[in-house]
Symmetry: C4
Subunit: 217 residues, 4 copies
């Protein structure tokens, strides 16, 4: 295995990834899922690079200038415009070769329910057709687990906590919640990441109605 610094950037794939990051950010922005410049989006470029939204950008009006192309081992020390949450994206690309795009968003239901259910360590969904939006789920009878990890401002440490929590979740699992914070989800490519985010967000909307009605989780 070559270190990523020895890989050369595939220019055409990078240009395409930047376009996909812009489209994902605007899609999330139009839905109100990234208030106050929160949230971030990335797309893998080949083996060793990724395109990521820069810190502080307004996602709903993102332009290519707000997208950084970095090696998967980049840190804020080398890339000052990197989002503080970049480790959560980059660690996923390094650990899982089939992750092609990662989306981190803050829908109200994700922030609220993740804190409400933090002690349980996961939200479970079963009996909802929309669960089939996840790759590999072929029936509403399948149980979908969305793990919850406690929030931590040290995002390198948070990334490690996420990785060890994910190792305990039965597949298929393409996302997790950070308590009181938001949802991160991914897919093999931008379209699948988007479909997985929309699936989890809709499952959270249904779980919120259950909460309001006092239905036992």
């Amino acid at each position: 295995v070559f270190a990523s610094s020895e890989l050369s950037l595939p220019r055409e794939a990078a240009a395409h990834a930047i376009e996909e990051v812009v489209a994902l950010a605007r899609w999330a922005g139009a839905r109100g899922w990234v208030p106050a410049t929160s949230g971030n989006v990335s797309v893998r470029i080949g083996e060793g690079f990724a395109a990521l939204t820069a810190t502080g950008a307004d996602k709903a009006a993102l332009t290519p200038d707000d997208v950084l192309v970095v090696p998967l081992h980049a840190t804020r020390a080398t890339e000052p415009r990197l989002s503080a949450e970049a480790p959560l994206h980059l660690s996923l690309y390094r650990a899982q070769p089939d992750v092609g795009a990662v989306v981190h968003v803050h829908p109200t239901a994700a922030a609220w329910l993740s804190r409400r259910r933090a002690r349980e360590g996961a939200l479970g969904f079963q009996g909802w057709e929309i669960g089939k939006g996840l790759r590999g789920i072929t029936t509403h009878e399948a149980r979908v687990m969305l793990p919850v990890v406690p929030n931590d401002q040290d995002t390198e440490r948070l990334a490690l906590a996420v990785a060890s929590r994910l190792a305990t979740v039965p597949p298929p699992c393409f996302g997790y919640l950070v308590a009181g914070h938001g949802l991160t989800a991914w897919g093999r490519n931008a379209a699948e990441a988007r479909r997985h985010v929309e699936t989890y967000v809709e499952l959270l909307a249904l779980a919120l109605e259950d909460e309001r009605a006092g239905v036992e989780p």
Copy 2:
């Protein structure tokens, strides 16, 4: 009666139906009723054909390339891009000659209430002016029944269950819920199907407020 395979496709009507499918899909997509590439839309073409959204398409950004024109007896064996839910559309066209357009959507209230009330087998609505959005309903005093059937991943079998359930519902009835899944509704043409969907979705919004307030169904 000729078998549909012996009918020839009316080209002009097909082109018009494709346009209508695209418009219906974008209308549903703009309202957030087809998250994660869920939902599907179809418009009848003459006696023996229909235009349907292909499986997996993003409805909010649908293009004519995402629309299939198929005989009413088509199956995924002959048309691999056919949605798994195509039997629910095609069986309606075969059974009811005055059905001109069918829409299947996943608004949160439809998925949630259909499961909450699955045991009752139907939602009943009475006293709401908006019920007059259904053809043949001329007063808020009329009782509108929206049947609920259990979900089933075998969509040919689900289509049969729907047909036998519909046979027991007093008219007018232009739709049904699948529990934990969503709403299917239809009309003589695209405009009427859309009006019927909007009517049922609004009735479901009112029923959801009743649920939250603890009003007895």
Copy 3:
């Protein structure tokens, strides 16, 4: 006083009124307040005429062809495309010379709360700054009354019931609810009618939160 049939139509004012009806309908449609072709909008033209949305039009995509120009004494007998709810508009123009525009919409909160509170005969609002959106209200301490009348499919009779109910409401009052149906509001011109509708809709949103929280009305 001349009978309206003896008045001649002011052409320029009519063209302007048609434009305003189109703009009001699209504004209501964009907010989701006129589902399933429900709702209707009108603007007065001089002393004896009004421009009204025709029956069955899709308000969000209204065009000038969907607008009728009629004398204030028009009925469906003479104008078959007239909305069944036209009497509710025309009676207001005949009774109140300073009414310049009338809007009838179906926001979910208006349909639901009007039925929930039908027996009380009115919703009262006090302590909300947004109440100042109504002409003549200069402080949040003022009490705003929004009367509720029972629904009736005989719209001529309903118009009479509304008129006699309005006579009992202390001013300022620029609207009413029909139980399980929706909101009608008006102003001296299109801009004021729109501001009054937005005020009542926001007051209803606040009352709905009160309902959910169990706050006594």
Copy 4:
């Protein structure tokens, strides 16, 4: 220090501020936070002036003609088109030299919760990642205080009450609620004011879910 009347208006900065006011107003209008021509927006121009939305303007469709450029000591006596709420903007610019933009909006949750919690004098938020949208907040563990003051139609007196209430709130604090009325928030520039408003609005959305679930504040 020169009196503001002795300062000359920086023309270029004024033109830029007008553009920013228009953009802020349309942003708030598109989100439904300024119903019925409520709300107002301002941007500081140099040391002695500000650009403000004129009274009664429709924020969602604001044009430069709806923006007034006034000295920080302007009153409605000298500027009849000034909003009645202008003192709440101008007093902030006079008191806090680093305030560059002020936004006053009426989201339903802000109006409703501010009245519901009026007696407590403040809403407190802790444990929410989105709190980091406020300048100086670096962890979800920080406590964010949003003070609530009683409503008062005498806006000069209300501005004084706000100033004395703000003096008691531990920093960072970039906003306040007026009970039953709405939210005012600010920043060093238009982008920061917008980010602060979006942060408070999202915190209010989370607090509203807590209210619905009966979570103790």
